[in-house]
């Protein structure tokens, strides 16, 4: 039935001295871009350089939630396309990404929040994405474990319900994309660190690694949380990014109890049940920049407090694993996808914060087009780095900004 167990992403290959494109970062976006460069643009002489192992960063640390009910009309089409790509990729990659289309409930705890959510819902519907406002009683029908009484800190008034969303097995996406890219001839070099980026006359010419120098006219920065540091240290280009840790944890496995992704911005908590039965739940970010992926006592306690109110039956369940990843946050909570600026041949795809998983397939597809053609696709134009100097922040979050790590 299974035959021989063959290496998924090919045999280990030697680092060539020249590639048509070098991608820094063997994570979701890097691998997706590599895959689409090869699939759509016949650009197969491509190296993905990964310092540790593929999926070490956000790819393996996120809580696997996918959805397309963002706030702005620039974002929704991108995420919509990403959402539609999961079944397509499962087929193309011949790798089961285990899309569990369970739907997402984003809980609201005030009249103002319900009204704000209506804007998201209307935006989704305008773009043909299914999303509805539902009241507390309907929430309870969908999630019987939910506490919709008035005696909690933030009583639930309703939710934004987004049936097309759900969860996707995050590791499978990493491995599947690696498999797909390698099948097209892309070289994936793990345990290889980029040590420098060569520039001549305003044009990218090479990438230095601890295994040797690579000549290339194109480089894509897709190193997730490490992107801003690489950009500054290697090219002196500062980015409007703050790198924060974001934490998540799982409980011991249970038989099905939660059939949807449920989240609450007010409680800073979300929860879903993995296919293994664990309740995966995440929290807000530690509000100081760092590169540690350390967890904190504060957040696991906070998370328990939040879930104990929202889903009180979970008080009888145990946390068993708590981890953290890096989120590269921009001031407007939207990513930076840009290229050929300020250096020719220099492309960046970063600043995804904690949205990098759900978007990776579509972002990779369009970044590949950008890199292959040199023309920025319309889909990516709003995400230019220049928007910050031009006073054109995106409205992905409505909340007001003050000085903070993300400003």
């Amino acid at each position: 039935m299974f035959g021989r167990h063959k290496p998924l992403w090919g045999k280990k290959t030697r680092l060539k001295s020249s590639y048509d494109a070098v991608i820094i970062g063997g994570g979701l976006h890097g691998l997706a871009t590599a895959y689409f460069l090869a699939r759509d643009h016949d650009l197969t002489n491509v190296a993905v350089i990964e310092k540790r192992y593929i999926g070490f960063g956000g790819g393996g640390r996120n809580t696997a939630i996918v959805r397309a009910n963002q706030r702005t009309s620039q974002n929704v089409p991108l995420y919509k396309e990403a959402l539609a790509l999961w079944p397509v990729l499962t087929r193309e990659l011949d790798y089961n990404l285990m899309f569990f289309n369970c739907g997402n409930l984003n809980l609201m705890h005030s009249e103002a929040a319900m009204n704000a959510a209506r804007m998201n819902v209307a935006t989704a519907q305008f773009h043909g994405v299914e999303s509805h406002l539902i009241d507390a009683k309907q929430c309870k029908e969908l999630i019987p474990a939910l506490n919709i009484s008035d005696d909690i800190t933030y009583p639930i008034l309703g939710a934004m319900y987004h049936p097309p969303g759900g969860i996707v097995r995050h590791d499978a996406v990493v491995w599947g994309l690696a498999k797909g890219a390698a099948r097209h001839g892309v070289h994936i070099h793990q345990q290889t660190a980029v040590t420098g980026i060569g520039v001549a006359n305003g044009q990218i010419v090479s990438v230095e690694t601890d295994r040797g120098k690579i000549h290339t006219p194109r480089v894509l920065l897709a190193a997730g949380g490490y992107s801003a540091a690489i950009s500054y240290h290697m090219l002196g280009i500062k980015l409007p990014i703050s790198v924060l840790t974001i934490q998540a944890m799982v409980t011991q496995p249970l038989k099905p109890i939660l059939n949807h992704v449920v989240s609450s911005g007010t409680y800073h908590a979300y929860a879903n049940q993995t296919l293994k039965g664990e309740i995966a739940t995440g929290a807000h970010m530690d509000p100081w920049p760092n590169y540690t992926t350390q967890t904190t006592a504060y957040y696991i306690k906070h998370q328990a407090e939040a879930l104990a109110e929202m889903l009180p039956c979970l008080r009888g369940v145990k946390f068993m694993r708590h981890w953290a990843g890096l989120a590269d946050m921009t001031p407007d909570m939207a990513p930076i996808m840009d290229g050929n600026a300020p250096l020719k041949g220099y492309f960046m795809n970063c600043g995804w914060g904690y949205f990098g998983f759900k978007s990776c397939a579509a972002a990779g597809k369009y970044m590949a087009r950008f890199m292959a053609t040199g023309n920025c696709p319309d889909m990516l134009k709003p995400f230019t780095l220049r928007r910050f100097a031009q006073h054109r922040l995106m409205g992905e979050t409505a909340a007001l900004m003050s000085y903070s790590p993300d400003n």
Partner: protein, 86 residues
């Protein structure tokens, strides 16, 4: 928690008592003649140092002091005593 900070007034405390106030970027630039790029550099751009950086903190839940400290962002530890401000 993964961070403790030494407040110049209150001593070592849990990092969650504080608000982070950004990388040290120096005094506010002059308003007149500031180009959008220079403005953006001061307001939005960061070095995101993986290593020791000088940064601002406010002891929100304590004495209300703003101060700078040197912190190693790769281990989340202070490397020197903070510099007191008001």
């Amino acid at each position: 928690m993964a961070l403790t900070l030494t407040c110049p007034i209150c001593g070592q405390r849990n990092g969650y008592e504080f608000r982070y106030g950004g990388e040290e970027k120096g005094p506010r630039p002059d308003e007149e003649g500031l180009s959008p790029e220079d403005w953006c550099d001061y307001v939005h751009l960061n070095k995101c140092v993986a290593g020791i950086q000088k940064e601002w903190w406010f002891h929100r839940d304590g004495c209300g002091a703003w101060f700078t400290t040197q912190r190693d962002t790769t281990v989340n530890l202070e490397v020197e005593q903070p510099e007191a401000q008001l």
